[in-house]
């Protein structure tokens, strides 16, 4: 991160007449005047105002910008809840094979048989891993998966005439997308409290379940990295009232091949293929958020789904109760493709190993971080854990944000901060299974060293980056959304 090159825009370094390439004069004889080929009215009066730069300036511009980026390929990235694991490069090579990359989604099914077969098997794998037999690959990311599943639930209850079910229950440790999805799908979100131990408060849940409950959305393991041990009691309570249980699958990396949401009573779930099954992410996507549901919910899934007819594969549109499309074509196929490669590479035993190693790494890091930070909830944890800087705030007025910013100086991506909301000054860390013990130790040593650094210096970190503390208030209130 010692790149001092300018980040001026191409428009700013533009010089009239400068070119990367000069095209030769047209050597095709043109007999007719241009006017008769393309009438004046359809021609621009002047060339478009594109930047005019030399090739070396163009290459430097983009190469230098790329070095400003922090990525899993350059830095340890313990961003809690985001599963920033290594994305194998061989998936990129496979995804670029012309037999896949050059397909057009509007081609006839008959000419897409390889891709359709792959997507069909991806549906099957996701059904097997979740224990929920019916899958839609369409949702473009986790939050859209949640929304799609709630639309499916709403359609199911409408179909059954149970329109009094207006409420979706959400624990207070949930991802913010849960209540947002509930509201967008036309439900009222009701918060369920956590116990001091960080699990769903069963008494509060019992008090809030009623004949108006449609769905309970639960993340398991939850955002504190704790497995909800009373999950079967919870799902039974909901089912006794005729309500559905939705599993937020953001944390599937902890339970692959170990337990299945369908087996512990969930009726619907989403996956984050880009997280659990290595679609490159962190730069804004694309994601992929397929959902898996029980058989009785299958008729309501978005159409089309991929089906097998003998030895052929096709898209099934004949789904009269379907909620309709939620995404163009077949979803974010490029990410589904990488997820397929990952699942096929590892196989059932390999996937189980992924989760075991992810949990082991998280517990190792947790124990190291506990040498200098409060960890409010008792371990062991699953694939992630939440530390708190509340002690530092009390003693030295150092906040979680200061520690997160200072980590950037040492070449680490910051953990997730101030989430989940139930932990003050939260620092949420998810190392993933792909990190070595040496990396985890180096990161933990850095965190412990930062603890003893000069508070004034921490409050103005980072110090080695081109931008230090951004004015977040101004950015939120007066965002500059375009150049000039």
């Amino acid at each position: 991160m010692n790149n001092t090159q300018s980040t001026e825009l191409l428009f700013e370094i533009s010089k009239t007449g400068r070119r990367c390439h000069r095209l030769p004069v047209c050597d095709v004889p043109v007999d007719e005047p241009l006017e008769s080929l393309l009438p004046d009215a359809h021609r621009a009066a002047e060339p478009p105002p594109l930047p005019e730069v030399g090739e070396i300036d163009l290459i430097r511009h983009y190469t230098n910008l790329s070095t400003r980026n922090m990525s899993i390929d350059t830095n340890f990235y313990p961003l809690g809840s985001c599963t920033m694991k290594y994305n194998p490069k061989r998936h990129e090579r496979f995804a670029g094979l012309p037999g896949f990359a050059a397909l057009h989604p509007l081609q006839d099914d008959e000419t897409l048989q390889g891709m359709l077969e792959l997507l069909f098997h991806m549906q099957e794998y996701l059904a097997e891993i979740s224990g929920l037999p019916a899958v839609s690959l369409q949702p473009a990311a986790g939050a859209q998966g949640e929304l799609t599943a709630l639309f499916v639930a709403a359609a199911y209850f409408r179909d059954k005439g149970e329109t009094q079910r207006k409420k979706v229950l959400v624990p207070d440790s949930a991802h913010g997308t849960n209540p947002a999805s509930a509201a967008l799908a036309g439900f009222e979100a009701v918060t369920v409290k956590s116990t001091p131990g960080g699990l769903v408060d069963l008494d509060d849940l019992r008090a809030k379940i009623g004949p108006d409950t449609a769905v309970f959305m639960i993340t398991n393991p939850n955002t504190l990295g704790l497995f909800e041990k009373q999950i079967q009691t919870i799902t039974t309570l909901l089912h006794e009232q005729g309500a559905l249980v939705y599993l937020d699958g953001a944390n599937m990396n902890a339970i692959l091949g170990i337990t299945r949401p369908g087996d512990f009573g969930a009726d619907m779930q989403h996956y984050n293929v880009h997280k659990t099954f290595t679609g490159p992410h962190g730069g804004g996507g694309p994601g992929s958020g397929p959902i898996a549901v029980r058989e009785f919910l299958a008729p309501y899934l978005p159409a089309p789904v991929v089906v097998q007819d003998g030895d052929r594969y096709r898209l099934e549109y004949d789904m009269p109760k379907s909620i309709g499309r939620v995404r163009s074509f077949f979803g974010n196929v490029g990410i589904l493709f990488r997820g397929y490669c990952y699942i096929r590479t590892l196989g059932p035993d390999g996937l189980k190993d992924v989760s075991e190693q992810a949990v082991l790494n998280a517990n190792y890091l947790r124990a190291r971080v506990a040498e200098g930070y409060d960890i409010p909830h008792a371990g062991p944890c699953m694939h992630e854990f939440v530390a708190s800087a509340r002690g530092l705030l009390r003693e030295k007025k150092i906040r979680a944000m200061d520690i997160a910013k200072r980590l950037l100086d040492y070449g680490y991506h910051a953990p997730t901060v101030y989430f989940p909301l139930v932990v003050p000054e939260a620092l949420m860390m998810e190392p993933t299974e792909t990190e070595s013990r040496e990396t985890l130790d180096a990161f933990a040593d850095t965190l412990l060293a930062i603890r003893n650094e000069e508070p004034d210096m921490l409050r103005t970190a980072p110090h080695t980056h081109i931008i230090s503390r951004a004015d977040e208030v101004k950015a939120a209130k007066e965002p500059v959304l375009r150049w000039k």
Binding site: L393, R394, M401, Y418, P424, E472
Partner: protein, 127 residues
């Protein structure tokens, strides 16, 4: 304003009552937890509110939080200056950063709210 006369809701709103009108804001502790406030949504003047009703939204660089009415009655004024300049909440949550004034409903009071020492004990356990 003498802080010792304030009463508090568990959800960190403060209340000060003069002549049957409750002035409501959020505590210094709550503001410090939120960090820099960027956006404020307050109820409409004339709205009838009950204890615990969600009446507004406070958005900061860190999170978005609901703001609950600690008293029952009718909203008779809101702090438009704070909506315009949300920095007032961070600078002065007990004076310039007040949020709304509620004319207490007949028989409504503030006895259900925490006094200063009870509130101090609560935040000591949360901080």
């Amino acid at each position: 304003m003498g802080l010792s006369n304030l009463r508090y809701a568990k959800s960190h709103e403060w209340v000060s009552v003069t002549d049957g009108v409750a002035t409501v804001g959020i505590s210094r502790f709550a503001v410090d937890q939120l960090t820099d406030v960027t956006y404020l949504e307050l109820p409409k003047v004339g709205k009838t509110v009950a204890i615990g009703d969600e009446v507004g939204v406070i958005e900061s660089v860190k999170s978005t939080s609901s703001f609950y009415s600690p008293v029952a009655g009718e909203v008779i004024a809101v702090n438009d200056a704070a909506v315009q300049d949300t920095g007032l909440l961070n600078e002065d949550p007990y004076e310039k950063g007040w949020l709304m004034k509620v004319k207490l409903a007949a028989g409504a009071g503030i006895d259900h709210l925490l006094d200063q020492s009870q509130y101090d004990a609560q935040i000591a356990s949360e901080a």
